[in-house]
């Protein structure tokens, strides 16, 4: 098993206190914490532990790969919502709101195996983990759960966080660099094959190669990015109307589109 501890760490900077990679939720979640070198790392460790515990807790509640997780049991009708962990009800409520906001293009209830809030849960869990770092004596932090990113603060004095967006046609390259305000989620089929279902047609289908949504709520951004990947560029209008959310897509023909407020820093020249 490869030691992932050092993978995914940003270039050394004076202000990077801590980098951690955790195998959880079927992926690797990285956590980076920033603060001046004077901060004692031992003061930060308990907050990191809490954040990691919350990720594992979310995994144990929602994982559909675990046959005995409460979400799996709920789907099979073995328990009802009243007997399930409270967070499941909260998540499903949030998914209802996301379904409405996305005009039905994000619909966990339309999926073949039964209700599947996975497209919301990953972002939701990552942001909850981030919130547990807020109490630490640090200036900034980033949690990256398989490409869904939540952040607070800043990496160094006078700087904002900057993130790259992967080029779906060449995933070892970037298509854009953006200033991160809060959270960003990206959806597309290029990593795991066709797994996004169009709730209106019932077919696996994406109309753009990659869709990214930035906003203050990562669960919702995750859901909206999923919806945008499926619906295509017509949904950019809808997301633009949502205050505090911006979006960016890469089409199958390599064109890029974005809402006017999407904070692009640079674009890669595509072939």
């Amino acid at each position: 098993m490869v030691n992932v501890d050092t993978l995914g760490a940003p270039l050394e900077s004076n202000d990077l206190i801590l980098h951690h990679a955790e195998d959880v939720m079927g992926t690797v979640v990285t956590i980076d914490v920033y603060g001046p070198p004077t901060v004692n790392r031992e003061l930060v460790d308990p907050y990191l532990s809490s954040a990691l515990a919350s990720l594992h807790h979310a995994d144990s509640v929602f994982s559909l790969w675990q046959a005995d997780s409460p979400m799996s049991k709920l789907r099979r009708g073995e328990i009802d919502l009243a007997k399930a962990p409270v967070v499941i009800g909260e998540v499903l409520e949030a998914c209802q709101a996301a379904r409405e906001l996305s005009q039905g293009w994000f619909d966990p209830w339309a999926l073949p195996g039964g209700t599947d809030p996975t497209g919301y849960v990953k972002g939701w869990a990552a942001q909850r983990a981030l919130h547990l770092l807020l109490g630490a004596p640090v200036q900034g932090a980033i949690v990256n759960a398989a490409g869904d990113i939540a952040s607070f603060g800043y990496p160094s004095e006078g700087e904002k966080f900057k993130v790259g967006i992967t080029n779906p046609h060449s995933p070892k390259e970037l298509t854009a660099i953006v200033a991160l305000d809060g959270c960003i989620a990206t959806s597309g089929s290029y990593e795991r094959g066709q797994h996004l279902m169009d709730p209106h047609s019932g077919h696996f289908c994406t109309r753009v190669a990659s869709a990214s949504v930035m906003g203050p709520d990562l669960g919702l951004a995750d859901a909206l990015a999923t919806a945008l990947a499926i619906a295509g560029n017509d949904l950019l209008d809808v997301i633009d109307e949502l205050s505090e959310f911006e979006a960016f897509t890469v089409s199958f023909d390599q064109e890029r589109h974005w809402t006017p407020g999407f904070p692009l820093i640079s674009l890669a020249a595509h072939e």
Partner: protein, 71 residues
């Protein structure tokens, strides 16, 4: 932008297939970088957003390679 790895830099235009709404030329000054310049810029980013990967996929992903970007 600094560095000797930049081969060409152009300023985005409305014909770049970019913004889905028409905007004035003034607001379209987003630099379009050739891959080498992009790679150089990558050294300054803190994270990568892309489609969801599995644990095995992480090792191959750009996020997993973050330490080597820009080198």
């Amino acid at each position: 932008m600094t560095g000797s790895k930049i081969t060409s830099v152009t300023i985005g235009s409305l014909n770049d297939g970019g913004n889905y709404r028409s905007q004035s030329i003034d607001s379209m000054a987003i630099p379009i970088l050739e891959q080498e310049a992009m790679a150089a810029q990558s050294g300054n980013i803190q994270s990568v957003s892309g489609a969801s990967y599995t644990s095995a996929g992480f090792i191959q992903s750009l996020q997993g390679a973050l330490t080597t970007l820009g080198l």
